[in-house]
Symmetry: C2
């Protein structure tokens, strides 16, 4: 099933399924907002189960509009643990995916996880449950897929993980220029085609910080042993260093369909005519820089929250989500994102080894704390 089928990752997941006819069957589709696209997907992939938001909608009319009269409407959790489902693709953004993620994990379904926020906020719970149920977490982020591919077949854990980052559109900006950054500039990412929230997070490097925390949980590595390296070409998607000093890297043109397909086909690899191959007769130089946390404080905030653990990552993630929303609705400036997140983290009192309820409470608290700060600013 694909949870979040009309978003960027959801659509690309269906592109992969379409390119490999006969290989995968779509059992369930779930989407929140874009009913027109969901209707097209229902018509093309003919899922048995469907989920969409019923808030403010007439159920019968909506089902007709979706052409989904033959689909059974189930809750996200019901689809995620359904006996017909082998892999649950979690392609929503935000902590909203946590319930379905946990339902799938507890039912022992393998999850292709593109949702950063649930792993950041509840990494310990998800990975513990996965260990218990035998669920395999198949990373879909290009960076974590790269690390996973590099670890394939290795008997020892990574000594160090090197997460690469494009550096976003403001890599070369002077510190003084950062305050004047507009939404249009921030949404114009140089190498990846992604959703809005992720694109802004890439511009602030918050995205990379969240990925450090994800890597910590996915690969059982200390936050201190995850190193971030700016690599503007986005060809090397990440690297793994081993105890003997050997390093493996995974490379490709930036295209999310590759990590999505690998998560679905693992441990096999499938030829897909739609996926680009590197052009070796015209292979460009690969450059690297150190990240500048003075200009991109979100990276350091995330690493610090990951190091502190407990409810800090949930608060970081929720505060960032609200701050990015405020930036996208032109209510705050680009540099305010980091400032607000930092202020909220400073006010937070951590709960160690939190339950799902405590994580959700911290999440709600953080969202309100950002809005409270904004109201204070406007007084």
């Amino acid at each position: 099933m694909v949870l979040g089928s009309t978003g960027s990752i959801g659509r690309q997941t269906l592109d992969v399924v379409r390119a490999l006819p006969g290989r995968f069957r779509i059992v369930g589709l779930a989407a929140g907002k874009n009913l027109d696209l969901l209707a097209e997907q229902v018509s093309e992939f003919k899922p048995e189960y469907i989920n969409y938001s019923l808030v403010g909608r007439d159920e019968k009319e909506t089902r007709n509009r979706l052409g989904a009269t033959r689909c059974e409407y189930l809750s996200l959790e019901e689809i995620a643990r359904h006996v017909d489902v082998d892999i649950v693709v979690i392609a929503t953004s935000g902590v909203a995916g946590l319930g379905a993620t946990l339902a799938a994990v507890k039912a022992g379904k393998n999850i292709a996880l593109a949702n950063k926020e649930s792993l950041v906020a509840a990494g310990e719970i998800i990975t513990d449950e996965a260990g218990r149920s035998g669920t395999q977490i198949l990373p879909v982020d290009s960076e974590h897929s790269a690390i996973w591919q590099c670890l394939n077949g290795e008997k020892q854990a990574a000594r160090r993980i090197i997460l690469t980052a494009s550096g976003g559109p403001f890599r070369e900006y002077a510190k003084e220029q950062m305050a004047g950054i507009t939404i249009e500039q921030a949404l114009d990412h140089p190498s990846w085609n992604m959703g809005k929230k992720v694109t802004i997070d890439s511009a602030t490097l918050m995205n990379k910080g969240l990925e450090v925390i994800e890597a910590h949980w996915l690969f059982k590595i200390n936050v201190e042993d995850v190193k971030v390296l700016i690599h503007p070409q986005s060809i090397i998607h990440s690297m793994v260093e081993f105890v003997d000093g050997s390093v493996k890297a995974q490379l490709s043109y930036p295209d999310m369909r590759l990590p999505i397909q690998y998560a679905l086909s693992y441990p096999d690899r499938l030829a897909n005519p739609d996926l680009p191959h590197l052009d070796w007769s015209n292979f460009s130089d690969l450059t690297f820089q150190q990240p500048d946390t003075a200009r991109f404080p979100c990276l350091q905030l995330a690493i610090e929250a990951g190091r502190q653990g407990g409810t800090y990552p949930a608060v970081l993630s929720a505060a960032d989500e609200v701050a990015v929303d405020l930036f996208l609705s032109r209510r705050i400036g680009f540099v305010d994102i980091a400032r607000l997140v930092e202020q909220v983290l400073e006010r937070h009192r951590k709960t160690s080894r939190p339950s799902v309820e405590e994580i959700m409470t911290a999440d709600t608290w953080a969202r309100e704390a950002v809005l409270g700060l904004i109201r204070g600013d406007n007084k």
Copy 2:
């Protein structure tokens, strides 16, 4: 056992053994020329079996000089297949290693293979025998070790292999400058510390061509699907492209001790304080160029010989060995190496699927053919 223990790879193999006390035991040592160093190694590693050239030497006197009175003298083949031996490190250069290699392979011993020439000349025989006996060929060349590491855990074969090459000291030379190259210039390799023969082969790119043929046999890949890429920093040691467009690369500072150790420790990796780790806080750019076969014709000659197969690779390798010797003894110029090899290949009549005897005959023929051409030149 270490066959060729006083050469560059042999010495570095013993460095690895020394750095990991208690992990490996040296059962046998064999060396050709450097008796003083062999004596030191015998004293340090106390092998049970030993082999050295007896040509022109008094056996008893030599054993005393080596301090090897407690070692049993055995032939190379006897040591290679001895019951106490688990891994045979083939660290000689030249086709002379072929007999011991085949003895080890037929006895089902895993071989850590640093000897290019035997695999180039007799790749089909060695890999066929290894398949029959269950011998694992553990590559020791940094490039083939890189490919092997990248293939680790993969269920599908490589779609393409990208062999990287430093480009040698004459990478930036104009074609007209090549004729004036001296031995001293050719032996001054920018990034690797190797034996003389290999260093000259690196300068002509013959080395890379031989590696294409080795990769063809080791990884069962068509010669056409092995691509050579110049990478002056020698940080990426090679790459593997898979059917889905994903590429894996292996990186490290250039240090032969890493691939040697990996061959010995596989499938484990061992922490070794002597092995350098990449400095991520100062990680440099990686650059790439296409190889220029007009200036480095040896590369194309080798690829062509590999494509033709049969006895061509044996002739290429033998002719090159003699030509490099002639260059090192100042009897021919740098560009004559490629010219002589090409002329010998042109005169050769191929035997398909040759036996070991036919390979040795072709080898001898090629050596005499080079010397014949030289005599003709000097008339």
